[in-house]
Symmetry: C2
Subunit: 434 residues, 2 copies
C-alpha cells in the first residue's frame, strides 16, 4: 500500500467540506441503461410471456419452449434444502428463526375508538396480497437476502411471495433455493433482470402481478424498479454499503480493522469509516489494516474501497463522534465503546446500531434478527430498515353517528365553503339536522 | 346532458376489460416539463438563493432584493389568524384538534428486549429533524391541506416544519396562513414551484435543507419531488382524486349524487364510481345527478368528470361490491349500507373507509380526524394514508453479550463463508471464544 487511508480531524478548518467530499456519491443515471430498461419494460408489458422468454434466452442463455419451464417446483427447493451441508442448513434455520422472532414484534394491529358522539375512528391494517422478491443470481448469490426479504413479508401476512432469480446458463445456487424453502416462498421463477421486474409489475399469463417488489439487483434491476414505482410499490434503491465505527480506543484494533473490511469487501464503492477521540488508536487500526489486508481473499476490492472511500476521523470526544455520525446518518453504526446504551440518546440517524465490542456488524447481516436491508447514502435521515410494516398498509376508518355528522358537518361546511368546494359543503350539509 | 354516465354490470361478458378501461389513467411524463424542472433544480443546487430569487421573479412576478424578504414572519401568520372570520377560525381550530387527537394514536414507541443470552434487540423510533411542506398558492389554496400535512409532522416530533407557499403577484391567502399558525409551522417562505422544492431539498444560504418534502402541487412540483427523491424523502405523487361509493340502495339518492360530486368537483380527471346491487337505485342516483348538476357552482368540471371517468356499476350483492372495490383499491371508499362494520372484513384495499349513511366523504376531508392525504390510482394496494409514521424512522438495535456473540458468531461464520464473504466471517469469528 503506497497510498494511505484518508485521515480527518474535526479540528481542521476545512473539516466540513472534507467530510462532504468524502461522502459525495455520484448516483447519476446512465441514459443508455435507462433506454434499454424502458424498452424491456415496454416489451414485457405489451407482449408478456413471449417477451420474457426472448430476453431470458438472450441475457441468461436459457432456451426453453414455454414460461412453465421457467417456474421452479417447490420440490426443487426442498431438494436443495436436503442437499446442502448440514451446518449451512442449521445456520439458515437458526437465522430464519431469529429473524422471524424479531420481525413478529413489528406486527401492527388495527385499532378503533369512539369519540363523545359515538363516532368511530380507527385504522385498519392489512397485508399486501402479493409481494415479489428479486434475488440476484450467478456469482453474487446471497441466501441471507432471501431470508431478510421473504420472512418479513410472510410475518406481515402476505399470502403469496413470488421470487424471481436468474439462472444464467442454468446455474442455480442451492443455498438460495434452500433459503427460499425455509422462508416459505410460494412460487419461484428463474428469470432476472429488468424483464423479471416487468413481469412482476405488469403480470403475464404465467407470472402474476404483485403489489410490491423488494430485493437487491444490479443497475438494470434498480432502474427497472424505479421505473415501475407507482404501478407497484418498491423498497428502497440501495446505494453502496457503508459502516461507521465509533470506538473509544479500547477495542482490539484487529477487530475494528476487520469490521471495516466486512463492508469494504462488498464492493469498491463501499464506505468504511472509523471515528475515535484516540489518535494512537487510529494509528493502531491503520497498522492492523495494513497487516491484515494481504491476508484477505477479497484484498483488491477491500484495498480500493478503503483507499478510495474509507477514512479515519479524529474527534474531541464521544459526544462529537455522535454528532459526526448524525451528519453521516450511516447504514451501519457500530458503537464499540464501554457503555453504548449511554450513547443511544445522542444518535438520531442510523439504519442499524451495533452496540458494544462484541457486536460485529457481520452478526447483523446474518442472524441477529433485525433486517439487513437498511437505508444507505444518508437516507437513514428519513427512512427505516426493511420490515413487516413494508408489507402492510393502513386504511383509515371513519364512521359518523347522526349526531356526530350533524356537529362536524357544520365545521366541514364552513371550511369547504372557505375553499370554494361547494359540493363538499353540500354533501356534508345533507347530514346536518335542520 | 346529452351523453349518459357509463353504466356497467358485473354480469356483462366484457366487464373485466370495461372496468380496466374505466380505471386506466395515463400518467406518462411530459419531457418538456422534465427538462424544465431539471434545469431549475440544477440552478438552485449550484447557485442557491440567487437562482431562487430569479425564478420567483420570473414565475411569481415577485421582485425582491433578498431571500430574507421572502420569509414570512410568524407574526404575519398570527395576524392572519386574528383577521379571518370567526367561524372559519373556529372551524380550523376544531379540525386541528381532531386531527391532532387522531394522529397522536399513531405515535410509535421504541422498544428493546433481551434474548436468552442477554443480547439486546430492539427498534429505536426517532422523528425526522426537518420536514418541508409544499402548499399550493393562488386560486387553489387549501388550508385543510396545511393542517393535514403539518400536524402529523409536529405530532411525530419533527423539530422544524418549513412551509413554502408561492404568492404569485404577492397574493396571499389568509386562511392558509391561519392554518399554518394553528398547526405550529415553524418557518414560512413565499416561494413555490420546482425552485421551492429544490431549495428545500438542497438547502440554500437562507432556506435550510429538509429531510422530507410533503404536500400537493402542480406537475412542476410533482416532477421536482420525484427528481429529488433519494436526496430527501417525499410523500406519494398523487394522481387524480377518486371515490367509490358502495350503497345498498337505501340512502337518499341526492346524498349519494352529492358525495360523487364532491370528488368530481376537484378536477376533470377525478373519478367517482357508485356500486350497488339495486338497478332502480342506480337509476334514481342518475336522475339525482341530472337534477343537481345545474345547481352546482363547479358544474362544468363535475359534468366532465362524471361523463368522462364516472360510472354506475351494478353488482349481484354487497359481497361482490367488495370484490369490485378490492380490484379498484379506491382512495376513498364510502360504505353507505346498513351494517358497514360487517363489510369491513371483506375490504382489503382502500385509502380511507367511510362507514354508514351519515359519513359523507367530505367530513373526512376536513375534520373527522384521519388524514385526507391518501393513496390514489390503486396504490392503496400497497400504501397508506399520510401519517405520523411518515415523519418518523426506525433504527434497529443490536447489542450482543460475549456469550451471544460466541453462539451466533458461529452461525454468521458458516453463512458468510457460504456466501464467500470472508471478512464478514473473520469479523464474527474474532468474537468466538476459542
Amino acid at each position: 500500500m503506497t497510498d494511505r487511508i484518508t485521515r480527518l480531524n474535526t479540528t481542521q478548518s476545512d473539516f466540513d467540506s472534507a467530510l462532504a467530499q468524502l461522502l459525495a456519491w455520484d448516483d447519476s443515471v446512465d441514459h443508455q441503461v435507462n433506454e434499454s430498461v424502458r424498452h424491456i419494460l415496454h416489451e414485457v408489458k405489451t407482449r408478456g410471456d413471449a417477451a420474457v422468454l426472448e430476453f431470458t434466452a438472450k441475457f441468461d442463455r436459457l432456451d426453453v419452449g414455454s414460461m412453465a419451464e421457467l417456474e421452479m417446483d417447490k420440490s426443487r427447493l426442498q431438494a436443495a434444502l436436503d442437499r446442502i451441508p448440514q451446518d449451512q442448513r442449521e445456520g439458515l434455520e437458526k437465522a430464519a428463526e431469529r429473524i422471524r422472532d424479531y420481525h413478529e414484534r413489528q406486527n401492527q394491529q388495527s385499532w378503533q375508538y369512539q369519540d363523545e358522539d359515538g363516532t368511530v375512528l380507527g385504522q385498519k391494517v392489512t397485508p399486501l396480497d402479493r409481494a415479489g422478491l428479486y434475488v440476484p443470481g450467478g456469482k453474487a448469490a446471497y441466501p441471507s437476502s432471501v431470508l431478510m426479504n421473504a420472512i418479513p413479508a410472510k410475518v406481515a401476512g402476505v399470502s403469496e411471495v413470488i421470487m424471481v432469480v436468474p439462472t444464467p446458463d442454468g446455474v442455480v445456487n442451492d443455498m438460495v433455493l434452500a433459503a427460499a424453502a425455509i422462508a416459505g416462498v410460494d412460487r419461484v421463477f428463474t428469470i432476472g433482470g429488468a424483464q423479471a421486474v416487468a413481469a412482476l409489475a405488469y403480470g403475464t399469463d404465467t407470472v402474476p402481478s404483485v403489489d410490491k417488489i423488494v430485493g437487491p439487483g444490479n443497475i438494470f434491476v434498480a432502474t427497472a424498479k424505479r421505473e415501475v414505482f407507482g404501478v407497484v410499490g418498491i423498497d428502497m434503491i440501495a446505494g453502496p454499503s457503508e459502516i461507521l465505527v465509533i470506538c473509544d480506543g479500547k477495542t482490539d484494533p484487529d477487530w475494528i480493522a476487520m469490521d471495516l473490511f466486512s463492508q469494504a469487501e462488498h464492493d469498491e464503492q463501499a464506505q468504511s469509516i472509523l471515528v475515535s477521540p484516540d489518535a494512537d488508536f487510529l494509528d493502531a487500526v491503520e497498522a492492523s489494516i495494513n497487516n491484515l489486508l494481504p491476508t484477505m481473499e477479497r484484498e483488491e476490492i477491500i484495498r480500493t474501497s478503503m483507499l478510495g472511500r474509507g477514512a479515519l476521523i479524529q474527534v474531541a470526544d464521544l459526544k462529537e463522534a455522535a454528532e459526526v455520525s448524525n451528519r453521516i446518518a450511516p447504514e451501519h453504526l457500530e458503537l464499540s465503546v464501554e457503555d453504548p446504551q449511554a450513547m443511544l440518546d445522542d444518535i438520531r440517524h442510523a439504519g442499524a446500531i451495533f452496540m458494544g465490542r462484541h457486536t460485529a456488524e457481520a452478526l447483523g447481516d446474518y442472524c441477529a434478527g433485525p433486517n439487513h436491508v437498511l437505508p444507505t447514502s444518508g437516507t437513514a435521515r428519513f427512512s427505516s430498515p426493511l420490515g413487516v410494516y413494508d408489507f402492510q398498509k393502513r386504511s383509515s376508518l371513519i364512521g359518523f353517528t347522526a349526531q356526530g355528522a350533524d356537529r362536524m358537518g357544520r365545521v366541514a361546511s364552513v371550511l369547504a365553503r372557505g375553499e370554494g368546494l361547494t359540493a363538499h359543503a353540500r354533501s356534508a350539509e345533507y347530514r346536518i339536522n335542520e
